[in-house]
Each structure stands twice: as C-alpha cells, then as structure tokens.
Amino acid sequence: MAKSKNISDFVIERDQNRCIKCHACVRVCANDVHFKDDATSEVASDDSKCVGCHFCEDLCPTGALVIRKNPSETRENAHWKKEYIYRIVRQAETGGIVLTGMGCDRPYKNYFDHILLNAAQVTNPSIDPLREPMELKTFIGRKIDAVNLDDLNWKTTSIDEIMSGLLELEVPIMFSAMSFGSISLNACKAIAEAAKLCGTYWNTGEGGLHQSLYPYADRAIVQIASGRFGVSSEYLSRAAAVEIKIGQGAKPGIGGHLPGEKVSQEISLTRMIPQGSDAISPAPHHDIYSIEDLRQLIFAIKETVDYKKPVGVKIAAVHNVAPIASGIVRAGADFITIDGVRGGTGAAPVVIRDNVGIPIEIAIAVVDQRLRDEGIRNQISIVAAGGFRTSSDIIKAITLGADAVYIGTSALIALGCHVCQKCYTGKCNWGIATQDPYLTRRLNPEIGTKRLCNLLRAWSLEMKEMLGGMGINAIESLRGNREQLRGIDLSEIELKILGIKHAGESW
C-alpha cells in the first residue's frame, strides 16, 4: 500500500565538502530533519520531515545546505495534481481533516496584478514627497455627518473632542489579528511595540490580552470572538478599540478548536480557560443570529466602554459582502474589517482556506460602492485585509475605497517567516508560530520591532512617492478615487465590479 512516509515535498542537498559537521542543523531543526549518523559520524537528513522553512539553510555557517523542491513527480496530469494525490493518501491513513496555515495559495486571479496606477503628466504637476509635506494620516471610526458651527462653543468644544472616539493612524496600515497562541509572545511583543512606535494599532486576535502586553493596550484593538476567550470588562476598558470577529478570510463561516495540548499555562491565563482543555470557538456567536443581534452586541460593548471607543466588526469577504456591510453600518459599527480569500491563519482546513470567500480587491470595490450608493459611507471606516504584499497593493486597496489595511503575513515575513504554511504544527523554527521556549527565544522582540518599523517606514516612503506621482498630497484624497486606477487584461464584468476603466480609456 502507498505510505505517506515516503512523500516529501522537499529534498535537502548537503554539500559534504562544505559541511564541517558542526551539527548546528541537527540542534536547531524543530522537525528533527537532520541527524548524526552514529555509524559513520556523518550528518544526514530525513527529507520527508522537511517543511521547507529554510531555517537550517539560513543558519548553516558554511552554506552547505540547499533546500529544493522534490523533483520526483507523478505522471503529469493537469487534474490529478501531486498535492491532491498525496492529500488523499494522508487522509486514507488518518481519516482526518487536512490542516494548513497562512493564506490561500491557489492561483486565483490576483486583481492587484491587473490594476495600474495613474501619474500626473503636464496637465497637473506631480509632487515631490522629499520636499513637500505628504499626509498619510488616517482616522478610523464613524465620521459625523456635519459640524453645526452655530452649536459649537469654541471655548469648550474643540475639533479634538468631535474627533474623539476615532483611532488616529500615522500610516494607513495596522497589524492584523494574530493571537498569543497562534504566534509566540515574543512575536506579539514585537508587533505591539512596533504599532506603538509607528503610531498605528495592533490586534490581539481572539486570544485575550497577556499581562506583559498591557503597556501596549492603548494601541490595541481587542477582539471578541464566538468563544469569548479572555473577554472581560477589564479587557474592553484597556483597549483602544474593540473588534467583534464574525469571520476570517482563511476560514469563513467555520469555528476553531485550539487543541488542549497547546493550551499551556500562559495561554490558559490570557484566554481564561483551564490548562490542557480544548478551546472551542463555535462557528457563529450564539448571541448573534442576525443584524439586529449584532447591533445588540455592538451596543452592549459601547455601553461598557461608555461610548468612548470605536467598535468594529470583522467579516470574511463572501459573495453577499456588500449588503452584509450595509447591515453592519446600520447595526452601529464604527469600522468594518473585511478579510479576503487570501487572508492568513494559524490553522484552517485546507479545503476551506482554498475554496471559500472572494478576493479582497473585489470586496472593497463592491462594499465601498454599495455604502456610497446608500449614502452611509461616512458612517463607517473600511479596513481591508487579506494578503497585502507590497505598498502598491495597499495604495490600490485604498484607491478602491478602503480607509486602511491590516497586514498579517507580511509582518510575519518581516519577522523571519518563510511562508512554509506549517503554523498549525506549533514547530515554527523561526520562533513565530510556536510556544516552545527553545524556539521562541530565536525571535528577539527588539530586533523584530525594528524590522517591522523599517517595513512600515519603507512602505510609507513608497506610498508617498506613488501619491506624489499622481499629484496628490494626502491619502484622504486618494480614498475611493478610482479614476486613478485602470484595469489591464480584465473583462467588462470585472471592470464593472471593480468600478474602474480599462487601460487606455481617458477620464
């Protein structure tokens, strides 16, 4: 019978001339790929255990290791691809749901790669961001319909008061929900500190707020998910904003189970559950079966925080996303987070991750349009999430209508992640998606913070260049300004849904 034991995605090439037998690779690999052959005292490797995270390759002092894709192929077949065959073999052996990590890796059309930005030429001047002020500042929350000057007593009321209850972002990029549990405390610290230093926000995910992260709570968006883990009045009052998590791009519509063996003492403290017990997040919130019920939870939170903090709702981008978003505005939310099909996760069934939901580009366009059509766009901020790889993806998302974006995977890549998609095993060699103290020590939070700040700085500079090129000096003027976008290689219906013209069409 076929045995999955023999299946390996990667092969490890070890240059024996270069290998100095220091055994560093043997010591570091959490997957026990490398071992010392006692008989020959050579260092050898078991390819079948390799996840392709490249930690040993990066660490090898003599560059003796190269990780390659396993060239062994099944007979070429466009339908019965290798991964499907091997998945069936695994399931035939275990009878279980196949898990995966990170975002959808299917080659669905990536609309960011089919959208081009404009630039100013002759008829309006471009702006040099090196010499002229450029504004990336963004406010998240419900904007008032109008300011009645007659009602304003300028001595006691200031614009600051009117704007209170909004989140103020120096860059329109926030760190997406990644719980302590899905990632290590060192990774959480790096992200939280970076958010504080860069004037943006981080998100606790549904794992509660660890005590050592309290100093960053004023920059934290705390999540309330169906399991209500770690949710208390104190949790709500410490935070800058609250996000009700209905769904997630990587696993729309399904719940989650944090297996008991991963509920360590520290995790049990933040989630407020017993150590070793399964943490089950039901698929729906059982107090939310309708938009009216959602309104009830939004206002229960607002009552608890004295209406002083924005309350948002996070949903996965699904087919009916526009009307749902409209309902969320009418339910009283201050911001809506939409997570596209490429949104990441620590663990999700691969069939769900790869087959459920719609791309974020399309979701932003249809939600922004729907809310504009209904005259309620000002009542809510749209935060987009789901696979932003570069600053140009973000600029395009904002031009399609998002107020700000969440980044998760790209932040983790800045911390060392090589997107091997094995987060769910808890054996992350980079010290990110693991709770093993031997592994988490590899992630230095101070260095991590610096790298994240560098990333945000680099993307800010790039975004300012792109803005200046379009002759625009504030991100606010680009928001929903779809005339600045042109589609390439897109059908008429795609252009219509995205609300953009095809390349070559002028204003």
Binding site: V231, S233, M272
Partner: protein
C-alpha cells in the same frame, strides 16, 4: 438607597443614571417601572453594589458584569448575564434564551423557567466557577459547548424538565437535573450518572441560597433525587484533524 423611575426612559439615559449613581458610591439602587431597557449593568465592576429592578429589563441584562448584584422582580429577556465574570443575578420570574451565555464566573438564580441555549459555552477558570440555578424548566440546547461551571435545573413547577440536545458539544462542567432522566435527545458528548454524596455537598450551598431567595422549602427540593450530566471527554474534537 436611591430610586429611579425608569418609566418611558430611553435605555441609554437610564444606564447613564445608574452608572453615575454607582460611581458616586451608591451601594443600593432601586429602579422601578423597568420596561425593556437593555444592557442594564453592562460591564459593572462595582463589587458591593446592589441594583433592585422592578418590571421587565431588556436583553443583555448584566452583560460583561464583574461584581454587583442585580435582583429582578419580574421576568428577564434574552442574554441575561452574557459573558459575565463575577457578581450575582437573581430573577423572581422567567428568563429568555441564552441566559448565562459564555459566563465565566458569578451566580445566576432564576425562580421560573429559562429559554433555549441556556448556559451555552459556560466555562470555568482557576478559582472562578459560574453557577446557574433554575427553579423551573429549560429549553433545548441546554449547556451547549459547556466548558465548565454548573447548571442546576430543579423543575419545581412541573413541565418538561429540559428540551432536546442538552449538552451538545459539552466538554467541561456539570449539569444537575432533579428527577428522572427525561425522555429527550441528548448531545453525543455526554453521560448521565446518579449523584454521589460529594455531589450533593457541592450543590447544597446553592440550593440553600435558592430556597432562601425564593422562599421555597429545601426539604421539598431534596424529596426528589438528582442526576448529573457530565461530558465524556475534555477533548471532544481532538481526533478530527490530520497533521
């Protein structure tokens, strides 16, 4: 003691008034003519405050509450004690659906019946152990996903003790029912046992309090034997994944 007349008052104003009084150090607040106002006591952590409500408070009474005692002279609607951390809610009437949803600590005493999904996803943590005592009957999906704490159903006024699907997905805590095992469909994840001496010791203080609050006879409660519903495993879904 301070009194508020809630008649015709918008919930936000009522809650503002109650909160202002609590913050000023008031220890007992009585609210009369309550009629559907939601979120009363939301997130309160005033440890030695007592709120007496007369009438019918609206949904999410005592949501996120962390301390504070709420006594209701009337019925309550849905979501009473939602995600409650500590404190006590005593209802001299019936309660609606999802009473004690995701409750982590504190106590809820209901004189009458409760609706569907009561005690759903109740959980315990360290020394926090939520307790709910229901004098009457409970609807379907009692203790669904229950992960800790205890629910006691007394069925003192007759009727069907519990509905179908009790204990579905249950992986912690205990549901005590008074009387014979009802002829309903239970969740797959539970087993039912007779009580041992130590179980009676566990529930006794709560039954005593129940009898005190609602002025009923403890002897009468003990006349009928109890049974308990407990989960088979703390890991109901441990084996559904392939790693």
């Amino acid at each position: 003691m301070v009194e508020i007349d809630a008649g015709g008052m918008y919930y936000r104003l009522l809650n503002e008034k109650i909160k202002a009084l609590a913050r000023s150090g008031c220890k007992e607040i009585t609210v009369r003519n309550v009629c559907g106002q939601r979120y009363i006591g939301a997130g309160f952590d005033f440890k030695d405050l007592r709120i007496n409500l007369y009438g019918t408070p609206g949904n999410d009474l005592g949501v996120f509450i962390n301390g504070t005692e709420i006594l209701v002279n009337g019925n309550v609607q849905d979501g009473t004690g939602n995600t409650m951390n500590s404190g006590r809610i005593v209802v001299y009437g019936d309660a609606g659906d999802i009473t004690g949803h995701s409750m982590r600590g504190g106590e809820i005493f209901i004189k009458g019946n409760v609706g569907y999904r009561t005690g759903i996803h109740m959980k315990e943590y360290k020394d926090m152990r939520p307790v709910m005592v229901i004098g009457g009957t409970a609807g379907e999906f009692l203790g669904e996903y229950m992960a800790g704490g205890m629910i006691i159903i007394l069925g003192l006024n007759g009727g069907n003790l519990i509905g179908n699907y009790a204990g579905t997905g249950m992986h912690g805590g205990t549901i005590y029912i008074r009387g014979k095992t009802p002829d309903v469909i239970f969740g797959k994840e539970i087993k039912i046992f007779d009580l041992e001496e130590k179980d009676y010791k566990t529930i006794m203080p709560y039954l005593e309090r129940f009898a005190n609050y609602f002025d009923c006879s403890l002897e009468k409660i003990y006349e009928t034997k109890f049974r308990k519903i407990v989960p088979v495993t703390h890991r109901p879904y441990g084996k559904i994944y392939s790693y």
